[in-house]
Amino acid sequence: MFGFEEIKKSFLTSLWFMFLTFPIMVIRVNTVQNIVEWRWERMFMIGIGSFFLSFLWRYLLERKELGQKKADLGEVDSIPWNRRIAREPRFYIPALIAICVFVLVFPFTFSLYQTTIMITALIYVITGLGLNIVVGLAGLLDLGYVAFYAVGAYSYALLNYHFGLGFWTVLPIGAGMGLIFGILLGFPVLRLKGDYLAIVTLGFGEIIRLVLENWNDFSFGPSGIANIPRPGLFGIQMSLHQATIYLYFVMIFLVLVTIFVVRRLQDSRIGRAWIALREDEVACQAMGIDKTWTKLSAFAMGATWAGMAGVVFAAKTTFINPASFTLWESIIILCVVVLGGMGSVIGVIFGALTLILLPEYLRAFSEYRLLIFGAVLVVMMVFRPGGIVSPERRIYQFKGTAPDKPKAEASTPG
């Protein structure tokens, strides 16, 4: 692969990128003082960097192509790694124990700062799992998901401000508000398909944010709402540190609840209908599934989790304003779902932890973290468009699903 042709290709690529990045990377003008700064050393860095990267890029592309070819000709046994682990008790039991221990000791061994980040990541796990219902299972691209998150957060902030309601009271209310908004917004837009649906949900998301920003009497506008209380525990006074640890465990609990419910939904009659809808709308209707209701239920179920997560978010930051609910937030949650692996619970958890923790721990290169983040998204999609984890699906085994029915077991084939 290091033949003359390849070297020529890489050489041309590096020349091209040197040309491409020339004005932005090399020249910097200061229009006030009329100084032009020339940074030639960067050009060489780009040249050398792109020369070698282009080798790697082509090598990986070739490997991907080859893998596809082999899979077609049936030359590889393609059980994804996550399923292989999940099948082997001697792998997954210790792994599960290790994760549990880690989760339990985490807030006590790591700093307050780390715990706060972890809470943020866990919020994304919940929103990611919620959006996964809409995008991953039902196949509806929703770019305005953050609207429901905002609805939850503002529900808590306003109900607390006006009526002094506490976290635990508002948590279900927030979820309910998400649900209601999901139905309200879902109803008119679900006739639309694909990208049109995406752009209209984007529109709705922006409308809600802009209303929050401008309707001062209602939402206090851009200045937002401060002094939102953290979750209480039987009225016990807690220090900031204690409160954070408490919130951490509340989040762990909520994540577990979410996983539990989402998995149940996924494996139910409704969940199957969602997946079937994603696979083929026409056939789905021909099987007697009500398209509108099924779509709406997915939309509303997704929104519910966003509403709940919004309440937690408000409680965690104790201050909210519309700037927390921009389109970027929707996009990041979408990335969590797609990067992790659509339709996969473990994938979404993976995606949330990677996407939220990675930039935080990249603070060492703090300036570069969003740059790297963007590049990672592109590279991931180019080389693994299905996400990190391929979706794990419940395999309905005739044996497994009916343990209390010996008759059924007997008639099961091998």
Partner: protein, 262 residues
């Protein structure tokens, strides 16, 4: 014999194109009826009108269900048509490719079951029982159709002929009294076609399901059907028993080819 499906003067226009032209059709209970005609004659359009995918421009479609209630199909949504007891397969296979064979059939049980969101989350006894029942019933359908060996395969990994049969299994799971098959033998080899022939007869005899099929394989059509309708340009040009159709000069001209008997 009282018809269980009666179609009167069904007309369907796409823009300026008339795909169906005042088509009349009747099917009696436990009949196997074939709809034949050249490609593009409007056969699939007819199915799409019946099953609520296209709203017909004119005409009337009536069914008489086993409970003797009469129902008009015009204006029903596809899912309500299925609930009313019509199920169909598609010309170009439309399985849920990334679901397993069993799950595909389980989707067919959807309209005959009722567990909702609350039930899904709580997984109470009724829901569990229903789920078990769905699995059991679906498996039973698969056994009947002869697909039990593939139960946990992904639909997309099935051989072509098996995919066609899975479409039938999935339709059967919705408990239809009238089954609409759109080119069920397309792409099957002679052996698979023979098996299909037996399967269709078995579905009629054992389950008492009436069958309307579109098919190009004349051998299959002739051996299988009680009656045949021939359409061309959206119009019915002939109807009758296989023997009558074989000897009908208009049919030979339009479809079988002028010198098919050469």
């Amino acid at each position: 014999m009282e018809p269980i499906l009666q179609v009167n003067a069904l007309t369907m226009d796409f823009g300026g194109l008339r795909a169906l032209d005042r088509l009349d059709l009747e099917i009696g209970q436990r009949e196997i009826v074939a709809l034949i005609g050249p490609n593009g004659a409007g056969k699939t359009t007819f199915f799409n009108c019946l099953t609520g995918i296209y709203p017909p421009t004119e005409g009337e479609m009536l069914i008489r269900r086993p409970d003797r209630k009469t129902k008009k199909l015009n204006g029903l949504k596809p899912n309500h048509v299925t609930e009313a007891g019509l199920a169909r397969t598609f010309q170009n296979i439309r399985l849920f490719q990334n679901m397993t064979v069993l799950e595909n059939v389980m989707i067919g049980r959807h309209c005959r079951t009722s567990a909702g969101i609350i039930g899904a989350i709580a997984k109470n006894k009724a829901t569990r029982q229903e789920e078990n029942k769905i699995v059991e019933d679906s498996y039973a359908v698969l056994e009947k159709i002869g697909l039990a060996e593939f139960v946990n395969e992904f639909a997309k990994n099935l051989p072509y002929g098996a995919q066609r049969r899975l479409e039938i299994a999935r339709a059967m799971a919705t408990e239809p009294f009238l089954l609409l098959l759109d080119e069920p033998a397309a792409g099957m080899n002679p052996l698979e076609t023979r098996e299909l022939d037996e399967l269709i007869v078995r579905i009629r005899d054992q389950e008492g399901i009436t069958i309307l099929l579109i098919e190009h394989d004349m051998k299959l059509v002739m051996s299988l059907s009680d009656r045949i309708y021939v359409v061309d340009y959206g119009k019915k040009i002939a109807q009758g028993t296989p023997q009558e159709i074989k000897n009908n000069p208009a049919v030979i001209k339009a479809y079988l080819g002028e010198d098919a008997d050469a």
